[in-house]
């Protein structure tokens, strides 16, 4: 792997779009920073790594990504501290995960040195797009997709790996109401649920719309066989606090191995909070809600950070949750963000200084 900085060609914007951006009214993931990274896979190798002004691609309508969803992505964030230093959070995890996703989707893996070099160069150029202040961040979207022309259903021999960056605020603005899946499902044993494969997300839009019509923002997915075990939400892993124990599903080939999830588990263990990584059933959850032992539910994810759940729906019943005094979700959110924004020690070595 080439670690030289010369391998990325840089074409800068002539005028930054930064002054036009209304940072107080950002819609999540719809504004993009001045530059993007692009690298092509052809003739068996990644090549032509380039940083260039964010803008449209010229691409054939017969590119395989449009027809066969051969595409994977990642989601990470850059945070700015009070001195203007910029940090990523555990970026090695995202790097490893995109390659794991790529492998499952028959996409060639991307070189580590080039991935980090691209991030360094992009963030050096677009540092001012990272706003300081708790809750502000620059969302980073690496992705890979099949660009070979052809409508035969077989893996492509040409791909693009790209990185876009988007200034964001919180993903959910209030508490989240969720419904427990009883009919639709997110992934199968032996499927691609553990990968951040593009098609996993599009497939959830319709059932999530149905949930929205009933007043829920998200679905908590259950296993496809029996709808018995609680798995994860659309873009978050899910934690349940029963009495003082923190329960979350084990990862599997159906569940994304979330970076925030594993960070919450590590913080809980450090703080002496009992954790139990096991398959919780819907029956147990409902019983705990009824007998009062269910104290909290929250989601964890890069976009959503820690997202408290204020109610869940099941079998046409709604179970409301009142946030306890010693809220775990608030505690983890604060502890995580303090590390991310360089407001606390970093005992785990999760901060990655970048610009």
């Amino acid at each position: 792997m080439n670690t030289s900085t010369e391998q990325i060609t840089v074409k800068k914007v002539t005028t930054s779009r930064l002054p036009e951006v209304d940072f107080d009214n950002l819609v999540f993931g719809s504004t993009f920073s001045d530059h993007m990274f692009m690298c092509d896979f052809k003739d068996g190798a990644w090549q032509d790594a380039t940083i260039l002004p964010y803008g449209n691609l010229s691409i054939s309508p017969a590119a395989k990504v449009f027809h066969y969803g051969q595409a994977v992505f990642e989601g990470m964030k850059a945070f700015k501290d009070e001195d203007g230093n910029v940090f990523l959070f555990r970026p090695e995890e995202n790097f490893e995960r995109i390659n794991k996703s790529s492998k499952r989707m028959a996409i060639p893996e991307f070189p580590k040195a080039l991935f980090f070099e691209a991030l360094h160069k992009l963030l050096a150029l677009d540092k001012d797009w990272v706003k300081g202040g708790l809750g502000n961040s620059l969302y980073i979207r690496p992705f890979a997709m099949a660009t070979q022309v052809g409508v035969a259903a077989a893996p492509a021999n040409e791909y693009k790996f790209m990185i876009l960056m988007s200034p964001v605020k919180a993903y959910y603005t209030g508490d989240v109401k969720v419904t427990i899946a009883q009919k639709y499902s997110r992934s199968a044993n032996g499927g691609v649920g553990a990968a951040k494969a593009a098609g996993n997300y599009g497939a959830q839009f319709y059932p999530t719309n149905l949930a929205r019509e009933k007043g829920f923002q998200q679905v908590i997915w259950t296993d496809a066989d029996e709808h018995k075990y609680l798995e994860e939400a659309g873009t978050m892993n899910v934690f349940f606090r029963i009495n003082d124990t923190l329960i979350t599903a084990p990862t599997s080939d159906r569940i994304l191995d979330g970076v925030t999830r594993k960070s919450v588990l590590a913080i809980a263990e450090r703080d002496g909070i009992e954790t139990d990584v096991r398959r919780l059933t819907v029956g147990e959850l409902v019983a705990a809600a009824k007998d009062g032992s269910l104290k909290e539910i929250f989601g964890s994810g890069t976009a959503a950070v820690i997202s408290p759940v204020s109610a869940f729906g099941y079998n046409d019943e709604i179970f409301e949750l009142e946030k306890p005094q010693d809220s775990y979700s608030e505690r983890f959110k604060k502890e995580l963000m303090d590390i991310q924004y360089n407001r606390a020690q970093d005992p785990f070595g999760w901060r990655y200084p970048i610009a």
Copy 2:
């Protein structure tokens, strides 16, 4: 719905690429005819229907299709008879299925009159791209995809509906060897397996590559729970002939409701061949292979037509199949193609004259 022909703007090529095409050496789905159809969904309506020269799109790298696989497609074919007339085969089925797929993927449905008008106009323009002769056809690829810019995981509010056309010969050139899925799976209960959703296909590439390395062209997928029931192949439904009974899996939310499959069932019933639409187990299949009652396996699909299976692999055993004298697969292939190429009566009303 507007049925006027004025609603599609037509921009013709100045010079046809037809003379450059080597029709004897076509790679499936990699050559495209002179024109394509494109229509945009925005502000809540399909608009700007246009036929234009086949060529690249200018599209944002943040378009949702790249990130969330919110895309569906269809596959159909145009056939030319000996007098130069062009026919589609049951195109209403494809029209209905793409809208069914779209619904499951939260994509707005496309108007019927516009779909057929687009096909009529495209085929009038590119009629010479349909080559006569058994086995030659023009493969037609309607598809819809999310074009809205934004990396928030939610349905788009802008889409493109397009139709590409590609001259093809046979999809498989010889007999096909298949392996029975024992680890990976194609779809989940409550998932999107019954839709022609883009991501279903990309998700199969890796396990299909593993099968290829062992000498199989395709995987026969089984249910994700137990890998016990035989379902379908990557781009074909699957039929098993045990003694003289033709068995195929019932469609479900995991299995594509194939047009070729239902045509084979109709022809079999007309011809007095016993059919049994039921869930065949892998155990039954292996037992039938061992006791000699398994006579044939074949796949059915628009691209592959009828594709005889010459062997299947299971548990590291290979079961070879010898084509019987009174081969069902040959018979159905002939009867289907005779209808498609206007060489026989069309008692079912499946031929659709178009150009």
